[in-house]
């Protein structure tokens, strides 16, 4: 692939708040257009550098194209992509490199916990739980405990996940990264299992007493498995877009 053409495409696509799959599609399509135009100019007798210049000259201003394309992204997807960046406080291309710091992971956990808190509040308020009786007080304790545990686990998973993905992306064959992935998955699973266990022991959790405490034993292995699967999927996706997101662009 031609790097000059890729940079022009990336100048259009990088900042668009859209899902990774949509952005990859945009990259491929815009690149194919430029590449076809270059081939045509070469076939007409231009040298490759001249053909590239000619294709870039008629391609359009990246800033204008970006805003036109951005307007075609569905609102919910734009919101989700913006939230994704806000969680860690980084722009999209730098999401996984360098690895997420403790502070960034805590920020992600805090924001996610806050979102859950708000969602749960509406749920509890709408269902009428938590007001006026003893059982209600227990529900409110569970409500805060759940949001706190969720936030803590989100921070830990983000921090561990970032490292696991970094490792998997850097190795030539996925099997070479497997021991590291397992180690991070076990760490994440232990943290998740302990958190769920603590929840069961806390008085707030008795609001859901019909669920036996022993069920928390499943939490660790389940958390580790889900963690590993998510890391695997994210790695595949990061590897696909790595040639693009690693391009250095001049600031506009």
């Amino acid at each position: 692939m031609n790097k000059v053409l890729m940079i022009q495409v990336e100048r259009v696509v990088r900042e668009i708040p859209a899902s990774h799959s949509r952005k990859m599609r945009m990259r491929e399509e815009l690149y194919a257009l430029l590449s076809d135009r270059v081939d045509e100019w070469v076939a007409r007798g231009l040298s490759l550098p001249a053909a590239i210049q000619q294709a870039l000259a008629t391609f359009g201003e990246p800033r204008e194209l970006r805003s036109e394309i951005e307007a075609t992204v569905p609102g919910l997807e734009r919101f989700s992509a913006t939230l994704d960046q806000f969680l860690i406080g980084r722009a999209a291309p730098a999401m996984w490199a360098p690895p997420i710091s403790v502070r960034e992971a805590l920020r992600a956990g805090f924001v996610l916990g806050l979102i859950l808190l708000i969602l749960l509040f509406f749920l509890v308020a709408v269902l009428g739980w938590g007001f006026g009786n003893w059982k209600g007080l227990v529900i409110w304790k569970a409500y805060f405990a759940l949001a706190g545990v969720f936030a803590w686990n989100a921070a830990v998973m983000t921090w561990c996940g970032s490292r696991a993905v970094q490792r998997l992306v850097s190795v030539s064959h996925w099997q070479n990264g497997l021991p590291d992935l397992m180690a991070w998955a076990v760490s994440a699973g232990v943290c998740f299992g302990l958190s769920v266990g603590l929840l069961y022991l806390s008085s707030g959790w008795h609001a859901f007493a019909n669920v036996g405490w022993y069920n928390s034993l499943w939490a660790g292995p389940t958390g580790a498995t889900v963690f590993a699967a998510v890391c695997g999927l994210v790695t595949i996706e990061v590897k696909q877009r790595l040639p693009w997101i690693s391009l250095e662009l001049e600031t506009e």
Binding site: R25, E28, E29, A32, D36, R37, F59, A71
Partner: protein, 116 residues
């Protein structure tokens, strides 16, 4: 040779023009541009990247559908995505043509100058 028609003069018509070239059959962005150039007798000067925002808008509105080109071992280069007119797109094209004909007839009558 008359002055070329620039992209900003085509605003509002580009969607219908793209639908019209897709009426000739399913194809990808570059071919759409070539068809526009060919039918515009070399007088259309589009910023080429702008064809994609148009295609994405049309796809969002359900006027075209898109799918990746089938793997072709004889062709080198990046894979391309082909766009096809939907039945809703065909109806929109017919409406666009009608509206254009009305526009030309009204504006043409005004631009044609006063008759004695």
């Amino acid at each position: 040779m008359p002055d070329p028609i620039q992209g900003n003069q085509l605003r509002g018509h580009l969607e219908t023009m793209v639908l019209a070239v897709l009426e000739r059959g399913e194809t990808h962005g570059f071919e759409i541009l070539k068809r526009l150039e060919e039918q515009g007798c070399g007088l259309l000067r589009l910023k080429e990247g702008t064809v994609y925002p148009v295609l994405y808008r049309l796809e969002k509105l359900g006027l075209v559908t898109a799918r990746w080109e089938a793997e072709d071992s004889s062709r080198r280069g990046p894979r391309r995505r082909n766009y096809k007119l939907t039945s809703k797109g065909k109806r929109q094209l017919a409406a666009g043509r009608e509206s254009w004909a009305r526009f030309v007839s009204v504006v043409g009558a005004v631009m044609g100058g006063a008759t004695a």
